[in-house]
């Protein structure tokens, strides 16, 4: 039972990280990026290119990945968001889906179809507590999630950039009128969103292997987690992620492993029926 909890929380932490990247972009431009999972996949492969192909120290590969992902995030914004800005949101969302497919096939061409592993930045024997095994990498995942959540919270609530971001999200035109560098703010949001996905990819690669199609399912789970937690709510995304990880793991163990993926969507529907704005969604007014 305790082992299931540890493994469920570990899986849920990955979902939460994907969701945090998704929310950073959503909270700035009110667009759901359905290619977030594919950005995660790119992060994993860039990390592997550094740490495995070029045999760089893992820490260096992480830094290179973060820089590359920031650049990719900005390119993504220029290609996907800017040309369709102001159009109906579903057009942008469809474009993110299309971009996800493009990225997946691009990865297939560049890195090939073979699944590959990446070394973890942490080493050491797993902890064994009363029969429960916790690997060093699982501990690293929990710590990384906690640090990122804290940093993101501080960034959005305690820094000038966070305030600019919130202003941009609330009313883009007014923000521009009062002199907020809207484009730069959006670019930073896309860059950070991509970096978070890249970090999730780097955390996933040592335990789940990296392959070009790995992002689809993880991206979708990140979306489900965001909905469960209440779209736009960071603590909600983290709690939603951990909750989903536990539900999937316990469901697979005690109900049936055949429906593991279905549990995510059943829970999402149930939560939406009971709490239409998600578990921690805030009531919001609409402009009329």
């Amino acid at each position: 039972m305790a082992q299931l909890v540890v493994n469920g929380l570990s899986l849920g932490s990955i979902y939460a990280l994907v969701a945090l990247g998704l929310l950073l972009i959503f909270n700035t431009v009110q667009i759901v990026n359905f290619a977030q999972g594919q950005l995660l996949m790119l992060g994993a492969f860039i990390g592997i290119s550094g740490a495995v192909t070029h045999e760089l120290p893992v820490a260096t590969a992480w830094i290179i990945t973060a820089v590359a992902m920031a650049f990719i995030g900005i390119v993504f914004m220029v290609l996907v968001y800017f040309p369709l800005r102001g159009r109906p949101p579903f057009l942008v969302i469809l474009t993110t889906i299309a971009m996800g497919i493009v990225l997946e096939n691009l990865a297939l061409i560049i890195w090939g179809p073979l699944p590959v592993s990446m070394p973890s930045p942490v080493h050491g024997a797993p902890l064994r507590l009363a029969g429960v095994v916790i690997s060093m990498h699982q501990i690293f995942i929990f710590v990384t999630l906690a640090v990122i959540l804290l940093l993101q919270f501080l960034l959005l609530t305690k820094t000038r950039f966070g305030i600019l971001m919130q202003a941009t999200a609330q009313d883009l035109h007014t923000a521009r009128l009062v002199g907020i560098p809207v484009n730069r703010t959006i670019a930073v949001a896309f860059a950070f969103g991509a970096i978070l996905s890249g970090i999730a990819g780097l955390l996933v690669a040592p335990i789940f292997l990296a392959e070009p199609t790995m992002g689809g399912s993880l991206g979708l789970k990140g979306f489900v987690v965001s909905v469960i937690g209440g779209f736009g709510n960071m603590p909600g995304a983290v709690i939603g992620g951990l909750f989903l990880g536990l539900i999937e793991t316990f469901g697979a163990r005690y109900i049936s492993s055949n429906f593991r993926d279905a549990y995510a969507f059943i829970v999402m529907i149930a939560v939406l029926v009971a709490w239409p704005r998600g578990l921690f969604g805030e009531k919001s007014s609409e402009k009329v």
């Binding site: 899986l11 179809p113 073979l114 789940f208 392959e211 070009p212 689809g216 793991t249 593991r260 993926d261």
Partner: protein
Amino acid sequence: MRQNSFKNVVLSAAVVCLSSGVARESKADVASCGSPIPFGLTTALTGNLALLGIQARNGVEFAVDEINASGGIAGKKLVLTTEDTGASSTDALNAMNRIIESKPLIIFGSMISPHVFAQTEGVNKSETPFLVGATNAKVTAQGSKWLFRTHVHDGQLADLIPEYLVKSLGKTKPGIMAVADDYGLGASKGIQAALTKLKATPAAVTSYAPSDKDMSAQLLEIKDKGADSLILFGRPADVTLVIKQMNDLGIKLTTIGNASMVAQTTLTNLSAAEANGGYAIGGMIPQTSPDTKILDWAKRVQEKYKVPADNFTVSYYDTVYMLKSIIEKVGCDKPAIRDALAATKSWKGMLIDYQADAQGDLAHTLGIYRNKGKTPELTGPIKENGF
């Protein structure tokens, strides 16, 4: 003496006339082929089945390139048209329609059974020999006289894996874990039925979605229910994850599975300790061959495609050469090629002999492997009952 000489002359003349006649007839048959000779291939080159589909492309393309480099078939080059099926059966059907429009002499289908099921009716209408590696046992039970399979199928594995586990390894309470798709679930059912015949009961029957990455819950269930072994049926990527997670959780069970257990893709991503001791029964792989020519072939395939050759690569490669020998005998008449395929007896491929049964299955020999560290060792070939 003179009579004998006369007899000899007459006999010699008859032999010369007969042999030249045969030669002329054979030459005429190959001469009936257009130039170049068109082959078609539909397989998954993109999407989440690309790792599998690419093996079919590699095997067929490598053989076609070799044949063309050595002068083609009776001087006529082969031209291969390939269409990507992606991961969906609808796209597979569309890909097949495009291939049929190009009027190939032969069509190679993929190893992905749902795609082949979707394509078979169209191929039947086009009356074109259709050679596949699809592993669902029912693929050749569709009643198509144009469809042939040159790779072993799940029905054979589902019988042989439990038999080996129970009779040779002495394990009677295995946990079963299979990928939840046509490939894995079909095999899982067959394995359960075979275990029942052997009077063995699985401790737990579990599965995972093809996109699943965390199988720890299933492994813990198998452990908690007291399994003495694990039958694992999946693709190389997920088999790798299961073995890794088993190791992480400290679960030690004798594990036997399909050829994914010994695939290079799997072994590359496992440590020697993780891989060691795993058993596999499946299509024959080239890496364990003692023949240096075969090892050299595997090396050249890997150099060209950056993907290690596996049991499917071998099967598709063999299929092209089998067709070459048939075309050299019967020319480019599609019904004649079909009849020759159906009459195949002991055609020697790279690793196994092919022999057609009444349903159109040509592969009946499998390999039993055991990993010694990260190196698979061939324990022995095993033949399907009746072959």
